[in-house]
Subunit: 385 residues, 3 copies
């Protein structure tokens, strides 16, 4: 099986059957569609949990993603000019969706507290900075990060947290009446959760080498997610009053296994290794929602609406560390030092880039909503009744 | 790559590998499933925006589509008898879903004002007339319409509008208390919007020639939709009070780019050409919802519940015109005159066929709901509470 | 086309093109994803119809399924050890989802009346017993059951009914205020219905022989489901007051055609044969909901919350009988006697296994909810407002 040209295209069949194009187009199109569903349905509905912010969650998600993928294709195309031209392929469309994911993760941190214009500015800047870090990690450091625990999840989370810190609103310290869910908004959010959960194996395998590596990325992610569900439910029940489950944990922490296994997804860690990663991620994420998010808000001034630190931040770092260990143990070719450098680079670009972006977003002419109109669709949408 | 037999089946691999069947079956099955999701989830939930008509929207959508695809396969089979038999293939199942789409578009125009029996009659007649026009356009005029801007979208919309004109209800001129949305019904509708948006590239490429043409149909549609989202949001904000967004525009106009790029989808118009088409479609569609729909209702007696004129009608015509221009510019083999004839044929069959169908539907024994029970599930469904 | 190794893997292309792995991985991955959507979205949301039990429906569905697929892979792996090891493949992951389906069907029978711990115990036992029966049917009796009418649907339903009988609650005989739907909960349930309906062809064809048999399984299921929708709507309208439709029938009975055609899906029964099976299944299922479910509850003490007897039980038996007839008529190689034995085995293991499991679940230390807290999320979940 000889890759030719763009990754994901093979000439083996071309020579012998003359029908490679349609077959390979196939495979990537399927993975692209799954990733696309995660971006537009998954992220969009996951954020509809707020009682009065559903229009913005799914609507601004659509706007930002449609803008981000065009900008992402452009930035990516400029990095990889082909005879002076930007060429498009399904593979590049997958990568554009990936860069979009970082923006949507950061969106979760500032959900309900920013205007559409602020978010479009964040998109422009974040995707540009993502492009620089991604180039550094993949091309210079040559680190492994097939499922992008570091360059998407950790990057997007800490970028968003840095923005949130810059946009700190002391008046929201005592909570806001709309910063919560109602029964049906929690059910809408579960649409997002379940689609993300189901298609995560496609996300982590989409840019893996076709064949055994890609198959492994699918199965490792599948096992990690399955184990993560069990630990997230168990811990949620343990930390809540009377052993009850909390919807916030179920909506989010059940997905941490997909994040955390990302870097190692195409490494030979075995089903058991994947399950350990997922199991730990479920615990860390649930505990983060319960204990860490309130501390970040009250002590550090980081108001993380969706708790992206628990779903993408800590599990992303966990994934980066797992990658360092796995490479050190020889589960994949590479250098543990370069893996560590990739993690540091992703965190550094995220925090510095996010802080700078937050400062720009804080300029007073972008229409940032006043405190009392936070978490409320009616400031940006015509809301009937 | 030599097509053999039915479009979409190849013998290149059969000869050399002996495994063509399963591979090609594959590719078409994937596209079929995406189109199927658009028909049943996309159209079904898009229409749930009405506050008290969700059961009928998604429920009658299922009934009509299940009936339409059987009738569509039959009509299609009678046109293309194979040794005196009707043969079934995934390709024909895709075409049956396509003919079903016309019915569901027309359903949108009369949503809330017709009985199930009336709708089944409309299905019978519309699919038959669709079959005649489709045969004329594809076989006689040999026009290009891979994504069916003309033969599905424009046809379905103007057919439905002609029916709506025949079924004009003066008493609804001042509005109806149930002809509107509530918060959660608008969120259900977004499920439909987003699934339609994500899978539209599959719709426009499903019957394209596999290989480069099909890949182009995917990417052109992808670019058109992305650009359309931006113009729909921008125009919605410009025309609404205080720069707010209107959910009706977001639910519908963001999809106009998929409609309008249909005819040109497999033509060599380039990403930039596709984006221009999508951008214009988003503007035209949003302006139509804001300014044209009220005029159609009050001046012409055309009460278009879902605004299909704005989502499918005008963007469909735009797509037909773009096809004429693109063929004239040599972006695809064909004749600009034949493209124009195909557009005229589609509009003519739609308006005449729709008017005749509307007259038949107006006969007094089909159980048409009285004015005061319009837009209300409880006339056809057991509604608890 | 020569299968090699695990079912679903071919060496034809390996020899000639060297690229079989990625192609075949493709095909199975696509079918796996469709089945996965049925398990997590389909079953999960189908059960959200209860007004106050949506968190548990979709949330416990996720927990049980994530647990069941791991346990199912383990049980399956122990039956089919490969050099002393349990090997994983996409094919085995599909089978794990299949064994999970039995648990989710049984979950429907006891929905709202059991604790998470009781359900986890049921999962452990049911998958083990499923594994025994599946081995008997497939390996010893060598019966056909490609879409698993008998070994999944009938088995899961009668297992759940036997459990429900053991857990009979006389106090619920007069109904419970939360044992019903509200408007929006019925719409959430339709998300489940429609995804199940659309992807059922993939379910019934996932483990068929690739090529003509698999294509036939897709088309037969497609025809059966389309016919079933028509009969379900017709009968629902006939048996309800004033010709109205009942959402319970539409949500469930429209799917009975997928169940009933399962055993015959890859047999040469023709589109017309498939449609007859689906048509009859829609009638039987709707009548069951209307007339049989109340009798089972009042006379036999079987309180079947979701009516799984009507969606999976009777249509599953119908599918088993159709399989006997089809094999007797030579539509597929096999023995009608062995088909009958397979049906009897599935029912026997289900009833005996379910009764035993129910007795164990009845032990007083699993946290079974008291009568007044049945069908209520707030006993296991933090519910805001």
């Amino acid at each position: 099986m000889t890759p030719c040209g763009d990754r994901g295209y093979y000439d083996c069949c071309t020579v012998q059957c003359g029908c490679s194009m349609s077959h390979v187009f196939d495979q990537l199109l399927v993975l692209f569609q799954d990733v696309h569903v995660m971006i537009f349905i998954g992220f969009g509905f996951l954020m509809t949990f707020l009682k009065r912010y559903g229009f913005s969650s799914v609507g601004l998600n659509l706007l930002l993603a449609a803008f981000a993928l065009q900008w992402g294709l452009l930035v990516q195309g400029l990095w990889h000019l082909d005879e002076g031209k930007i060429k498009v392929s399904i593979f590049k469309m997958i990568n554009a969706d990936f860069s979009t994911a970082t923006v949507l993760i950061s969106f979760g941190a500032v959900l309900g507290k920013t205007s559409p214009v602020q978010l479009l500015i964040m998109t422009l800047l974040e995707i540009t900075i993502f492009g620089i870090n991604e180039h550094l990690v993949a091309e210079v450091l040559k680190a492994n990060d097939v499922g992008a625990s570091m360059i998407i999840h950790a990057f997007g989370a800490y970028f968003g947290l840095a923005v949130a810190r810059m946009l700190y609103r002391p008046a929201l310290g005592n909570g806001h009446e709309n910063d919560g869910s109602v029964y049906h908004s929690d059910l809408f959010a579960m649409i997002g959760t379940v689609f993300l959960w189901m298609f995560w194996p496609s996300f982590n395998s989409a840019i893996a080498e076709p064949g055994a590596d890609q198959l492994m990325a699918v199965t490792n992610t599948y096992f990690s997610l399955a184990a993560c569900v069990l630990s997230a439910y168990a811990v949620s029940s343990l930390v809540e009053h009377k052993g009850k489950l909390d919807m916030v944990h179920i909506q989010n922490a059940t997905l941490a296994g997909g994040v955390a296994v990302g870097t190692c997804a195409d490494m030979n860690i075995g089903p058991f290794g994947a399950m350990i990663i997922g199991f730990v991620a479920g615990i860390v994420s649930t505990l983060g929602f319960k204990f860490l998010t309130p501390i970040l808000a009250s002590n550090l001034g980081i108001q993380d609406t969706c708790g992206v630190h628990n779903l993408h931040g800590m599990p992303g770092i966990l994934g980066g560390i797992a990658g360092i260990v796995a490479v050190a143990l020889g589960k994949k070719d590479g250098s543990a030092i370069m893996q560590a450098a990739a993690l540091a680079s992703s965190l550094g670009f995220a925090l510095v880039g996010g802080a700078m972006t937050g400062l720009i977003m804080k300029l007073p002419f972008w229409g940032q909503p006043p405190d009392q109109n936070c978490f409320d669709d009616s400031i940006y949408w015509e809301v009937r009744t």
